[in-house]
Structures are given as C-alpha cells and as structure tokens.
Amino acid sequence: MHLGLPTFRGGTHPPEMKELSRDLPVEVLPVPELLACSLSQGIGAPARPVVGVGEEVRRGQLIAEAGGFVSAALHAPTSGKVRSIGECPHPVGLRANAIFIEPDGADEWHPDARQELGEEAALALDAKEIVSKVQAAGIVGMGGAAFPTHVKLSPPPDKKIDTVILNGCECEPYLTADYRVMLERPGEIVKGLRLLVKAVGASRGIIGVEANKPEAHERLLREVRGVEGLSCRMVAVKYPQGAEKQLIKALLNREVPSGGLPMDAGALVQNVGTSVAVWEAVASGRPLTERVVTVSGECVERPGNLLCRIGVTLGDLLAARGVRAGARRLISGGPMMGLAQWNPEVPVMKGTSGLLVLDEPAPPEHVACINCGKCVEGCPAHLMPNRLSTMGERRNWEAMMDWNVLDCIECGVCTYQCPAKRPIVHWIKQGKNELRLLKIRAEAEKKKKEAPEGVPAE
C-alpha cells in the first residue's frame, strides 16, 4: 500500500477512525460565557499575569507575559472583563493558575493586535523581526507538546539548521484538525513556512503529509510550486509518523542523536497549524487566541472540527456537540498519546488538538509477557519494551536505565500491540519519573557529603 514511501523503522497502524470528522469543514464555536486562560499553556515556566481582576480587556491584548525565555505570552481570547485569577484544572490532572475572562459579547480586537503588514512586507522581514513577532504572539507548538516556538527558532549559534519540516502527518487516530487546516488554509501554511525557513536561516522547507491525505498533499503541492526551496512530500501511513524524530528520519534520513534535539540533526519541525499561527502573527500582528480542535469519538453526537478560543472548557465542547449514551472516557488529544480527563472544566490549551469521547472498553487485564516480540518489532526508538515492561512490573527502575528507557518517546505502539495487554508505557513513564527522583536524591546526598563538617546541609 505505502511501499516505497519514506518512513522510519517500526510503528503500527491502528484503525484511523478519521472518517467521523475528516469531511466536516471547520466550524466556529461561539464564545461561551466564561473563558479560563491557563497560565501554564505548555512546557516551560508559567506566564505572569499583567492584568488585574475587574480590568476590561480586548481580544489579543496581552494578559500574561512570559515567565522566562522558555515560556510563552498569553493574550485575551475575546473582549470582556477579568473576573478572577485563580486555580483551574489542567489537562495533566493537576491544577494551575488561570485568568478567567467574562466575555462582553462584542469580541472587539485590541488595537495592538491589528497591525496589518501586508503579504509582501511580512515576507520581507528579517529573521530577528520574525522571531520577535512570534514571541510576542505567544505561539507554542500546536501539535500537542506546546513548546514555545520562539525558543525553537532561536538555536544556539553553533547549531546550524538547514531544513524546516512542517508536520502534516496527523498520525493519531480520530484527529482531523490538521487535515482541515491543510485543506482550508494551505496558502497561509506555506507562507508561514517561508517565514520559518527565513527565521532560522535554513535553505529549504519540506511539508510532510501522510499518504492517506492525498487532497491535502495536492493542495499544499500547488502552493509550494514555484517557491524556491520549498517542497511537499508524502510519507507512509504509519503511527507514529508524525513524531518529530521519526519524521526527520523519514524525510531527511537523519537520526536525532539520543538525548538530543532536532536542531542536532540540522532540522526544525513545526506543526502545520503552528505555521498558520506564525503567518497570522507576523502578517497581521494577531496573537494566538484560537485553534482548531477535533471533537470526535464513538460517543459524540455530532463530531466536528471546531475553531475555538483558547480557554473554552471541554464541557463547552461537549455541550456544543452532544454526548451519546455510554460515554465513559474523555481524552484530550489523540487516543495513542492523549491524556484522559476527569474534569470537564479543563480548558482547551494552545496545544489541544482534539477531544475524544469514548465508551468503556473491556478493562484489559494484563497477563505475563509471552515474548511475542511485537513491541520490539514496533518500537520506533528501537528499544526492548518487553524487557522494560518486566522491569517496570518488578519496580526495578535502575535496570530500566541500562535498557535505555530515557530514549522512549512514549508513542504507545508497544502497548497498543501487546496481546498480553500489558500497560508498558505506563510502567515506562513511572520508571522515568522514579529515576528522576532517584537522581535528585543522589545529588542531594552528594551535596551533603561535600558540605564541610559541622555545617548543616540545606
């Protein structure tokens, strides 16, 4: 089927389930009565509020500044009044501070956020200006990890990035948000890519699209035609083709070194949605205040792709699309790597790609590993998940270290395929966490020993 298309070694192909929403154009979700703008949108330090309770804000106005270099600014998703600043449930299951905004219904833009540059002027900007506009717009990776984009665009001088890759794989089942963006806004994706290529001084930009999305590939191909240095390529339909390192391997045949970053392989990977956000930020001065979210799953009444403001809650999405009888699980993101949610008050983040409502599966009771080797064959990081799983089961964390547990990308292929239904990824995540704690403890011990006698260690 996809013989000959570029890919990586390993992986699997779960049922795609994209037919539920792939042909439904993006719809705009009306602004709800309250928005919860989390200060912890992604990886990095939380943002610091710059507005007070009761203050009137307008759409696109800065409401929280970045809390450090690896952090992103936050902007009001609509016009209204700051009702409160306080705790709010977070998709990882903990709580984080958020700014709650009560919309006034006018949805008026802040003047700072309406600086139309025009296409030519935007494409003529230099690298530094592009990065600063991206940083000011609070853009983070919209594929899920939500890493601040300006950080990725500012590699240390000794790391030369020659290729920018746009990730249009969307290899997670159910999700179609990126697909719809590729169909509906291919021009902006490509213009965003031109800015990204320029921002890091790369010589070429490649858009990678899985072969199950030929229409998207065709539209993007039409847009890149005639643009120097840009191309759009099909890659094999295989999960996790959209994982950064696996996509670089497929398109460039380079491996990101263990423990390294894409820049160590001379590459920068951005999601197609992020590219649109970059173009909007640079050409129109518009900060990131909305994104497309796929709402799908067997237990959603009307699946769809919704353009919604950052800060609408999962409950708002459920209310808008309806829930079917038998709903038992709420997943933020895709079914392979997404996070199960227990609280519908969790807001949509800049990195929220989907919301799935699934029924209850027969609880997969796990049995002993029968050594079938499916996990070893499927592991895109070329690990031995069978060995890691028995070590995890026995809580033998240090041994996991010897078997390269830190190279695991937690894609879930091993666990998806396991006929013994072993929660391998769960044990691996736990192992990584335990190893981190062990390291912290060991460092503290070391400090204690090195401290001069009689001086109490802190």
């Binding site: 699997t12 779960p14 049922p15 299951g93 391997k249 491996e255 070194p257 263990s258 237990c299 409950g315 459920l318 209310a319 829930v323 079917r324 709903a327 038992r328 699980r329 997943i331 392979m336 790597m337 997404g338 996070l339 199960a340 949610q341 227990w342 519908p344 799935l356 699934l358 209850e360 599966p361 049995v367 002993a368 029968i370 050594n371 079938c372 080797g373 499916k374 996990c375 064959e377 895109p380 990081a381 070329h382 690990l383 031995m384 069978n386 010897d402 390269n404 190279d407 879930g412 666990t415 998806y416 395929q417 396991c418 006929p419 013994a420 239904k421 929660p423 990824v425 769960h426 995540k429």
Partner: protein, 385 residues
C-alpha cells in the same frame, strides 16, 4: 450515572474513567494467538489421520485433553488462576502428541502432557515464564521413560499408497481401512545415518534408492521417494511426516505474523547445509561432499530437508514465542545455532534425529542470544548503553 449531569449535558457520566495512554488497544489477545497455532496445526493433524489412521486421532485427542486437564489441576493445586481457555495448554498437548508414534500406548501422551505442563511450564511460573518449550520437555522425558515405544529408528508405517489416494480410500471405503497394511520400517534418517555401510545403505546404491528400499523393499524411481517424503507417506511420528501440511500451517503462522519467516528458514537451511558439510566416511573412503559426489550430495540434501521433525520443529517449536528471542537478528542467530546442533546430532550423534534436543539446547541460550542482539537504539551508534 445520571442521564442529566449538573451542567445540563445529557449522557455525561458523573465520573469519567481515567486510563493511561494509549487509550485504544489492538483486539489481538494471547488466547487468539494460541488458538490460531492450533488452527495452523490442523493440516498436520489431518495428514497424520490420513497416513496413520484413527488411532493417531485418539492419541492427538488424549494429548490435548490431558494437557488441558493437567494445566487445570496443577494451577488449582498451585493456587493460581486457571487459564485453560487461553489455548496454550492445548497447543502444548497437541504438539506433544504430534511428535509421538501413531502406535504408542494411550498413557504415553498422558504422562508426557503432565510432565510438559507441570515441569515444562508451571514450575517456572506458567505461560510466558518458562525457559524451555514445554512440549519438548515432555517429549524428552518420554524418550527416556518409554524408550521402546519411542525408538527413533523404527517407526510404524501404516500404508504406502500416495496421500490423495489413501485420503479417498479413507473417506469412501471406511471398512477396508489402512490398518491392514500396517508395517514397521526404518525412517529415512535412520537409513542415511552414518557410519556407512549398514543395512540398506550399501556402497553401490544412492541415498534415495536406499530410502526407497527401506520404505517399500523395492528400488523405485527416486522422484517417487521424494514425493512420499513431501506428502508424508513415510514412517515417523504422527505430525511430522507430511511436509506439505506443515508448510501450509507454517504459512498461516507467517501470514499472521506469529512467526518471523527468518527463523524457520535459518534453522532449516543451516541444518541441511551443515549436515552435508560434515565429513563422513563410507567403508574407509570419504563420502558425499568431501568425495565430490554431487549426485549423493543432492539426494542427501533432499532427504535431510524432508525427513524427521525438521519442519514440525522449524515452524511450530523453535518459533514458540515464549522461548525464542524477540530480536530479528537474535532469531536468525538462534535458528542457525539450532540448525548446527540438528546436523551434528543427525550425522555424528547417538540418534538419527536431533530436532527435539537442538531446540531444548538453544532454549537455554535464548536470553544470552537476545542480550547480544539488541537493536541499535534510535539516534545512537550502539544497542545497550
């Protein structure tokens, strides 16, 4: 679960179920794999029935049922969950029965199944935790417990008609069953067992002629002998004789990706190649490859390939998931190691056939082979850090 939750959305449960990723799982289960292996063994079972008659079917049934019963009893006594329905005991019992002679006593598979399940599997902790192939543990035990019944050089051979003809005979002419033609004959591997000359293997005839003579007491066209070897019209144990049936089942396993084709291929090719390479003398003279007798080499290759338990072992036993390495390279090394052992036993050892012991021996080296064949971790230049 209330139909209407407090925020007014119908069908939203009071509590959402929180699970760890991935939230979808492939439908494949362990018992599905095990029962597929049983299914893949059916062609060999049918061939065994056709070649050896109804008593072979009884031995197979006793093997399966006694293995399942042993599993249930042992698990009950050991206070473990009873997992007979997962099909793994059925696979063990069937495999054991398939490597028994068709005329063994009814209690032979019973004893063998018990040893296979108890000592071969449950003592180690049950399915997935055993280091040796349980069916072969049972088989090795029976070899010593009932040496007369499991003589490896003389086996029952119940008929000498071509397979299709005898199948038709069995179906349409039940009364005059094949038992009437029962006889005992040397196996092809016993016939070509060095040192020469001995028995049929005289200096002036080729290996295929010798095998043909031992089977039918007449010198036949060598191609008839090859056909008999392939279809199963030869003496041997119940499940090993029909290479065609075993290949068919093996392809089912490969198509289902329960068997990596590299492992049986490495095993079979190595066994045959090394068996030919090992120097052998006949009447004080070099024989075969070392004497440049290419016709003999070709005939020996065919006999080594299509005789004994090589196919049964290659597709169903050495490929047992639990006891074989999971790495691709490891499987090839494993197959080669076992193949060398088969050849050594066949040519120099005390038995004409060495499949059972070759697999049990490499079972012991499985973890070692796996350890030194781990794949290169993505983004590194080596495997294990």
């Amino acid at each position: 679960m209330s139909p209407e939750s407090k925020n007014g959305i119908p069908n939203v449960p009071d509590k959402w179920l929180v699970t760890t990723s991935p939230h979808v799982r492939s439908p494949e289960t362990v018992s599905q794999i095990m029962w597929t292996v049983v299914l893949a063994l059916l062609p060999a079972c049918v061939a065994g029935l056709v070649v050896f008659g109804w008593y072979a079917g009884l031995i197979m049934a006793i093997g399966v049922l006694s293995a399942m019963a042993s599993e249930a009893v042992v698990q009950r006594v050991m206070r473990r969950p009873v997992t007979v329905s997962d099909g793994s005991a059925a696979v063990t019992g069937l495999l054991l029965a398939l490597c028994l002679p068709a005329d063994c006593s009814w209690y032979v598979p019973v004893v063998g199944s018990f040893v296979a399940i108890f000592i071969g599997k449950q003592v180690f902790g049950g399915l997935g935790r055993n280091y040796f192939n349980p069916a072969l543990i049972g088989r090795a035990f029976l070899q010593f417990a009932f040496p007369d019944q499991l003589s490896m050089s003389k086996w029952k051979m119940l008929m000498r008609k071509p397979l299709l003809e005898s199948l038709a005979g069995n179906i349409f002419n039940v009364g005059s069953g094949p038992v009437a033609e029962a006889m005992s004959a040397a196996t092809p591997l016993a016939t070509i067992k060095p040192p020469f000359p001995h028995g049929e293997m005289a200096a002036d005839i080729t290996p295929l002629e010798a095998v043909g003579r031992s089977l039918h007491n007449t010198a036949e066209d060598p191609w008839d002998v090859v056909r008999d070897l392939g279809l199963g019209n030869i003496p041997g144990c119940i499940g090993e004789v029909s290479k065609l049936a075993l290949l068919l089942g093996g392809l089912i396993l490969i198509a289902n990706r329960y068997v990596n084709w590299r492992l049986p291929l490495a095993y079979i090719l190595t066994a045959v190649t090394v068996a030919l390479l090992l120097p052998v003398k006949s009447g004080g003279e070099w024989y075969g490859l070392w004497a440049g007798q290419w016709n003999v080499v070709g005939q020996l290759a065919v006999i080594h390939l299509l005789s004994g338990g090589l196919f049964l072992g290659a597709f169903y036993m050495i490929t047992d998931m639990v006891t074989s390495p999971t790495t691709g390279r490891g499987q090839v090394i494993y197959g080669i190691a076992a193949g060398v052992l088969v050849a050594l036993i066949r040519v120099y050892g005390g038995y004409p056939e060495g499949v059972c012991y070759s697999i049990l021996l490499v079972n012991a080296g499985r973890l070692l082979i796996e350890k030194y064949s781990v794949p290169r971790v993505f983004g590194t230049s080596s495997g294990k850090a």
